[in-house]
Symmetry: C2
């Protein structure tokens, strides 16, 4: 049986020692003192560890079952969902007027990591509801907000997003679902959507589907797509539930993982829907949900890596196998624990340095969202827009790789389902795919985000790295050598790649696009390098100030040194690949493969 405990101490370190949230000027942050966030995180951590985590294996083993149009979730899910609702967790960072607690997004992110790590499939029911509610909040009429948000903020009703159809995923311009205007202002929605997470289940009184469809006669392709609110049960004027709408679950998919979440084929047979936002501007409204979802998926990459790592670490300390080549560490036992072996260390340090770096990256990203939303800061909005594909793509690719490393620590025991390590890799695998496959994230980054607002945001990122290096160099030779210099080198690699794209991409867009995946990864490494430099500096400051928990802060610095020495140099390889240009990638005719 796998273990999980919430990484509260690490999260507190990032919030307070690194990001200094309580002294930030972002509206609402002044309340986030150490005691307050500790109280929130401890409560969330208990729920995650004691309620959600034990259901993780149950969800994987039982899966969801469709019978007579009704989806039965795994045993215990309903009761756990009640506990999540009672704690008010779904509305943590939602507006008070709709029943939320109005906390900053950074707190929602810290809590979200714990819930996802404990049970990704379960937490998706709540996560997609949050996203759908955000879309209604941003684009709905007052009447729509009043009708749906109070119930969605509390998760009495859950939400979904409906984009994909059998013949189109990324290329939504090919969409066939139709929305025919009716005399009463509603629309008749007809079509089939696939891969709809939480599309049908037994944990909520109503399910609010946000559905992309085309209004006949509108513009061709993606410019003719609109977004609709399609509730499972129509809602009466008094808020009570009315007739069942013409939407049903036709099938649930057999998947590699996240068995506890129902992935549905949804059939819309003349269902009644209402326009959300403007006609033909459906993608804009959907992107409110999508961007939030992408950051949430990036968080899943971290979450699964963290959960898998905790288990790998336990096993490495517990399993006795072989002897330390430099001398027995457990001379009275039959063998030494796995953790004495350098190659096991390599694996554990890869995992540890990723998880802690990714957590800092995500929480920093969440502060940018708060800065953008709460302080109307367009620069912060631009920066997080740039970072979104990096967070989604890099953290899910790396997060997956870390679950594979964690599984490997178990040897043969990692491959049998009994130990639970296979589930971490199978669950983590989806995060590289949904909400835009990672290749599409790379395309978004290089093809769109880099040049956004005249390249202003990527320049601001480089300036930020430069400023950090300038402000923190020259005080400690060891810090300069171990953290500042590698960060400078990696950042220069990234700039050189951007320069290559500018120069070559003008002549041939494929020269840039052939390197887009490498660019996304090198960008991720530079971000984690920056985070580790900031964390090491914060840890050193705490040590210098005489912090009592010296082991904790020294371990932070040692883990950061590992990342800088062994992971960050990957930027040079990515740059070499990028500079090889389009020719090696595009040389073959399709027929010559």
């Amino acid at each position: 049986m796998p273990v999980y405990s919430a990484p509260t101490k690490d999260t507190q370190f990032v919030l307070h020692d690194v990001l200094n949230v309580s002294t930030s000027e972002i509206p609402g942050y002044s309340e986030l003192d150490r005691d307050f966030t500790a109280a929130v995180l401890e409560e969330a951590g208990k729920l995650a560890a004691n309620v959600l985590h034990p259901l993780n294996v149950v969800g994987d083993t039982e899966g969801c079952v469709l019978e007579n149009g009704v989806v039965r979730t795994p045993k215990g899910f309903r009761e756990a969902f009640e506990q999540v609702k009672e704690g008010g967790w779904p509305g943590l960072d939602m507006p008070e007027e709709y029943g939320g607690q109005n906390m900053p997004h950074v707190i929602g992110t810290a809590v979200g990591e714990m819930f996802s790590a404990a049970n990704q499939a379960f937490t998706m029911y709540q996560g997609l509801t949050h996203g759908a509610a955000s879309a209604i909040l941003a684009h709905g009429t007052d009447a729509q907000k009043d009708t749906y948000l109070p119930k969605m903020v509390s998760c009495e009703w859950t939400g979904t997003m409906n984009l994909t159809e059998p013949h189109c995923g990324t290329d939504l311009g090919l969409m066939r679902s139709k929305a025919e205007p009716q005399d009463d202002g509603s629309y008749r929605i007809t079509g089939q959507k696939i891969f709809i997470s939480s599309g049908e289940h037994d944990m909520a009184d109503n399910i609010i589907h946000l559905v992309l469809a085309k209004i006949p006669g509108g513009p061709e392709g993606i410019k003719g797509v609109s977004l609709f609110i399609v509730p499972k049960f129509l809602v009466n004027e008094d808020g009570s539930l009315g007739a069942r709408n013409g939407v049903s679950c036709g099938k649930i998919e057999e998947k590699m993982g996240i068995h506890g979440n129902s992935t549905c084929v949804m059939n819309y047979d003349g269902a009644t829907g209402w326009l959300l936002g403007q006609e033909h501007k459906g993608m804009r409204a959907m992107f409110t949900m999508m961007n939030e979802a992408r950051l949430g998926v990036g968080m899943q990459g971290l979450a699964q890596a963290e959960a898998a790592y905790q288990n790998a670490l336990d096993y490495a300390k517990d399993r006795l196998q072989g002897r330390d080549v430099t001398g027995a560490k457990n001379p009275d036992g039959p063998a030494d624990p796995l953790i004495v072996h350098p190659d096991i260390r390599r694996s554990l340090m890869d995992q540890k340095s990723f998880a802690e770096g990714a957590r800092a990256f995500l929480l920093w990203g969440a502060t940018l969202i708060d800065q953008a939303h709460r302080a109307d800061d367009a620069d912060a909005d631009g920066l997080i827009s740039l970072m979104t594909p990096v967070i989604k793509g890099f953290l899910t690719d790396e997060g997956y790789d870390m679950t594979v490393l964690a599984q490997q620590v178990y040897g043969g025991h990692g491959y049998i389902e009994e130990w639970g390590m296979s589930q971490y890799t199978r669950d983590a695998r989806i995060a590289m795919i949904y909400e835009g496959a990672n290749g599409v994230q790379a395309l978004d980054l290089v093809g769109r985000k880099l040049a956004q607002d005249g390249g202003k945001h990527v320049m601001a990122f480089f300036e930020m790295v430069k400023a950090f290096c300038k402000d923190n160099a020259g005080q400690d030779e060891s810090f300069d050598k171990t953290f500042i210099e590698p960060l400078k080198t990696a950042s220069k690699d990234l700039q050189a790649a951007g320069m290559f794209f500018m120069q070559e991409g003008i002549k041939n867009p494929n020269a840039a696009l052939s390197g887009s995946y490498d660019f996304m990864h090198m960008f991720g490494h530079v971000c984690l390098g920056l985070m580790w430099a900031r964390m090491a500096q914060a840890a050193q400051a705490a040590l210098d100030a005489g912090a009592s928990d010296r082991d904790f802060y020294e371990a932070k610095i040692a883990t950061g040194r590992y990342y800088m020495a062994r992971r960050l140099p990957a930027t040079a390889l990515h740059l070499a690949r990028i500079r090889s240009g389009a020719d090696p990638v595009m040389a073959l005719d399709a027929e010559s493969f």
Copy 2:
């Protein structure tokens, strides 16, 4: 439903254009002319594609079932196994005196790839039998050979290897299974073995278990381990089957993949066994089987990558999504096929360049085995001994990564079981673990094989690369720049890493062991770089000679250029990691994790 077709043309290219098998001086190779190998490969390919491949999904879906001590294999497996036996495939490279066909190992490898790619779980029944038969052939008495080999060569009886116990996998010195000598020269075997592939099933009349156990009173640890033949049914003097032996399957494991193969807990309750080889020299005898198995597992890495790639390629040509940024390629259709997109190309080229490079590497390795066995060449034996952990570790890690890339091409359709892409990754995952987890391969390479015979074999490898570069440089500027120079650079990186190990490892063994995994991967890249340089040279020679199939040879050169430009530079990153030494890896106390 996934597709598979045997890569006969590519295999023929490696055998004849690159390795020139029929003009080699290895005994038995002169028979291997193009027509002969084509006939063998085509027959094997038909069986793989038409009989084994359709059962791959069946095996995954049905799995094996244990009822009343009997394991039922998936529907169709028995009949397919009969066809494999009737074709004489199990004894392809076994001695004629035991019913084999005495063909070189290189042919067995080429056929083995096809069978494994079509159905890994199924092919393991045959593969482990081959390994067990090889161990009996090498270490058995004449009576043992006469009793077991004819039936095992034909696969009337199958074989297993029994090493792992619940508390020990890699560290077999901890073994508890006992073998008590009996008056009649036999031994009473008692103990529990786990993870026994093909341990019990319904496809053979008898199962011959090779079991490691300790004879009481022998040396401590690994030096007191002996190997025993323990048949499921005792064999009478006349060769007929006698009483059921005291060995039974207690459980079959629920696994992440290879569901079609029964992974058994085997209980030995005073079972009758016979010593194979010498007392207390069990590991030596087992390593005959183990080394063969490791090469076979490396082959599985290639095989799953090839099978997954074929499907990804089909899907990329078929699925219409988005438009080529440089102009529509399918203007009359609703969208262009996925294969127009540079990032999809990157993924396909990674897969293609790996699979073709790995095939050449494996077949070359097989010629070394033939050279060692058929021509008693100790240098070839040393070289393949050095290469064995590289083939096992690098090809299974990379092979797995390629199945993940192939799955990714499908987007959401890759995650649902319906399309079969999940199975490739789930099946491929085990290859990184069994027959010695890949971290153990890296340890074997750096801790043992590098220094074997005074480092003679690794020096011979470097000399071989150098000689190739010297012999082939200066004739074609483009070839020099694209193939020779990158190969030289990568080979120098590898040598520099070896030098670092020599210098630092003397002071601190952890300095070498911390870089062992990186070393294994950089060694693999140099091997594939060498293979691609040889393939490109062979393809150019064929073009210069006026070969009619110009597209095929030109595609080979283009694919090689991709590998050299985009994959091989990874050696620099591995070297940088290695040079960071033990400190970043070992800095933390176990308690500080």
